[in-house]
Amino acid sequence: MTKHYFPPRRPDPKDLEKFGPRFEIEVGPPIIRKELHAPISSHPGTQRFYRMPALIDTGAGRTVLTPEAIQKVGLLLVDYTTLSRAGGIDKVGAHVASIQFPRYKLATIEVIQVLCCELPGELFQCLIGRDILSRWLLTYNGKTGEWSIDEEDLAVWVEPPEGMLT
């Protein structure tokens, strides 16, 4: 079990209260390690990964990225699904991505579906939802301004079975 403490600088309870648990992630196309028989036209060296701020959101059933982030990374579409949020119900795109945690030794998520949705403000471009949180032990200490993620091992991680994440 590895424990990762946030924020990297001195904790500030007011900052955590105001903005929530945020950290930096890198989003890119899905990482394909499986040996494939057909040639893959995208070469690993040309794959684009973009660093962006993310907010941990226990109220999100699925991880969400803004349309701008999805466009910047060039994530491909695999489905449409229905997303219910404060502004109403929308039909949104489901894209496939990988997510890395550059400052932390959290396991890379090699294949995950992310939903495309506008997010308020510019403080974060990604909501880390319960699909990813199902992998971690999240501790939130509002009194000290610290929060942490415990992860059991560094095994690579792919999309979990559906059914419990709505």
Partner: protein, 78 residues
Amino acid sequence: MGTAAPSRLTVETELYETHKAEWLQSHRDQFVVVKGTDLLGFFVEFHDAYYAGVEKYGINTDFLVKRVVPQEPVFVVF
């Protein structure tokens, strides 16, 4: 809907809707992979379905990976 322009996966989605009742009988809860009107197959896990799609169609093109369920899920973001 952001980058998911309505024209993307239209043919695939229509094909899914056309065959949904039939597939619910034989492949309920599995993931179907479709590109254009080409049905690649059904898979138990999403990542197996996605890998199969990449193997067949490549990594630089959209293809549909959809779970065959009677009612489409609604994901919630609070």
